[in-house]
């Protein structure tokens, strides 16, 4: 049995610093919003699967699948937490999609949650470094920003990318984030602001890096043929594709290319029977500014080395040729690691429904793509959604 799948409802917390909320509270808020929007009872949900990178290290809490199901009052519904570092949310989505597509379940809640702000920043750096190959990268003193910095230094060397152009990625994402009430940062910044912020890992500065955020996101999936029972605007899941690569940079074919992104994108476009030209907007994984540049090339929207032109020409703003990260991305929208993949999908859903706030709605958007990366590219997930 193989069925088409649709997203029938969404719900999320704001991404940011939620001092008064833990994993359970955040998951509860996102889950209740999604269930209410679908007009169903929580009891109708047959399976819960969500992404959470490290409840264990951030909060000392593992076994969060059952924890969340119980707190939502949904026992004995089966619940699972999946982990793929910053791609945990999308991998959860992939699993929820398989559960509905296969015919196993009809109503599945897919989510993501992360509580990150209860630890000091050096501890957060250490926890996030666990997304890399600990033995061969973190053990020698490298950090997560350090890995992307290695890519950035090489990319600048090979393709002549300037720090000013890199800064424009952050400036654009803050511009979009300023119009998104759910974003972590809503301030606008300038290229000068980026270039004068402190260096975290040369050549990346503080404003090249996304923040650590608390947050949760949830979507509810149903078979496409039944979706109109729940909503007038079902969003069809055209494709979800996931690929793996080495955890460390050491053995990558090319450190300026995320091969897992390339593979996942090829699979997703083939499955969806769509081309790059059909895509009206993209949400890409901009944990660092350089990551957004690499993503547009690896997804096939432009040849290697040429994404910088899109930023020079301002084509990635809403209204440009290819609007990128219309919710502010990870940089301004925030990055609650386990929830980010689902948050990106929610942004595409809002855009396809025409529900994004004034100024950041892409007119007549019909097809959107979300791209979520775990670690420095060991996991990549590409999801294509449409209004059809």
């Amino acid at each position: 049995m193989k069925r088409e799948v649709a997203i029938i409802s969404v719900g999320a917390t704001r991404f940011g610093e939620h001092w008064d909320k833990g994993i359970k509270d955040l998951a509860w808020e996102a889950g209740v919003k999604a269930v209410e929007e679908a007009g169903i009872s929580g009891r109708d949900i047959q399976y819960i699967v969500f992404g959470n990178m490290s409840g264990g290290m951030f909060e000392g809490q593992e076994h969060v699948g059952a924890l969340v199901a119980d707190f939502l009052g949904l026992n004995p519904v089966p619940a699972a937490r999946v982990e793929a570092a910053c791609a945990s949310g999308s991998v959860a989505f992939f699993h929820g999609y398989m559960a509905v597509a296969s015919g196993m379940y009809d109503l599945v809640a897919v989510g993501g949650v992360e509580k990150m702000t209860d630890v000091e920043s050096s501890r957060a750096t250490e926890i996030l470094a666990a997304a890399m190959d600990y033995e061969w990268e973190a053990y020698f003193g490298n950090t997560f920003p350090g890995v992307y910095a290695l890519m950035a230094t090489r990319y600048m060397h090979e393709y002549g990318l300037k720090p000013e152009t890199l800064a424009k990625v952050a400036v654009k994402n803050h511009h979009h984030g300023s119009m998104n009430p759910m974003a972590h940062f809503r301030n606008r910044i300038t290229v000068e602001d980026v270039l004068s912020s402190p260096v975290v890992a040369y050549p990346l500065r503080r404003n090249d890096c996304c923040p650590v955020s608390d947050g949760a996101a949830c979507v509810i999936l149903a078979p496409l043929e039944e979706a109109r029972k729940y909503t007038d605007t079902p969003i069809k899941v055209e494709a979800v594709a996931q690929a793996s690569d080495t955890l460390s940079l050491l053995e990558r074919r090319d450190i300026c290319t995320l091969d897992a992104t390339v593979q996942a994108a090829e699979k997703a476009f083939a499955k969806a029977k769509l081309t790059r030209k059909d895509v009206d907007l993209v949400e890409v994984h901009d944990c660092f500014t350089i990551a957004e540049i690499l993503a547009l090339e690896d997804l096939g929207f432009c040849p290697k080395g040429e994404a910088q032109k899109l930023y020079e020409e301002g084509e990635t703003y809403v209204g440009g040729k290819l609007p990128v990260n219309t919710d502010g991305g990870l940089k301004a929208g925030g990055h609650a690691v386990g929830a980010t993949g689902v948050k990106q999908i929610i942004e595409i859903v809002k855009q396809l429904r025409g529900e994004a706030e004034n100024g950041r709605q892409v007119d007549g958007a019909e097809v959107g793509l979300a791209h979520n990366v775990g670690g420095s590219g060991a996991t990549a997930v590409v999801t294509i959604l449409s209004r059809r």
Partner: protein, 157 residues
């Protein structure tokens, strides 16, 4: 973290201290870190151990200003992605020079150093770092030996 928290197998990892990798006799590829199976040849591969010379060139680098907890006090420090002369790449610190002196293509060699102290117990973790290739000491000793009319018995390269 206490002494018992240090995974025991890490302490017996020779490759962490001596740049031991593997090569596949079937496809002649070198690998670092060591592998149990050749990803190219799969079960047709024949994996053997190899010790790399420790010489290489900087392929990319960064200067880490914000380290994770164990490395916080050493910042800023240089992290390099180093391409060994035998092909594989390693990530390691580049020391014995100023951060601003590091460049892509710079020749470096491995050296054995302290990396960090583990948690409150302070167990010292060792491993390799890389430093700029400096042959001046070889010339110095050659000259010293020549002055004393002694022969250089073995190459120090």
């Amino acid at each position: 973290m206490s002494a018992s928290d240090v995974p025991r197998h890490w302490r017996s990892m020779k490759e962490r201290y001596r740049l031991l990798g593997t090569y596949c006799e079937n496809c002649k590829s070198n690998f670092f870190p060591p592998r149990k199976i050749c990803p190219k040849c799969r079960r047709k591969g024949r994996i053997k151990q190899i010790e790399f010379s420790g010489r290489g060139k900087v392929f990319s680098y960064t200067v880490v200003n914000v380290g994770s907890k164990a490395f916080e006090k050493y910042a800023p420090y240089v992290i390099g992605l180093i391409e060994l002369e035998e092909g594989p790449r390693v990530i390691s610190q580049i020391v014995d020079c100023k951060p601003e002196d590091v460049y892509i293509g710079m020749e470096v060699e491995a050296c054995f150093r302290k990396l960090f102290e583990q948690g409150d117990s302070g167990i010292i973790s060792y491993g390799f770092k890389f430093r700029p290739v400096d042959d001046s000491w070889v010339e110095y000793y050659k000259k010293l030996l020549a002055d004393r009319k002694m022969k250089v018995l073995q190459s120090t390269g």
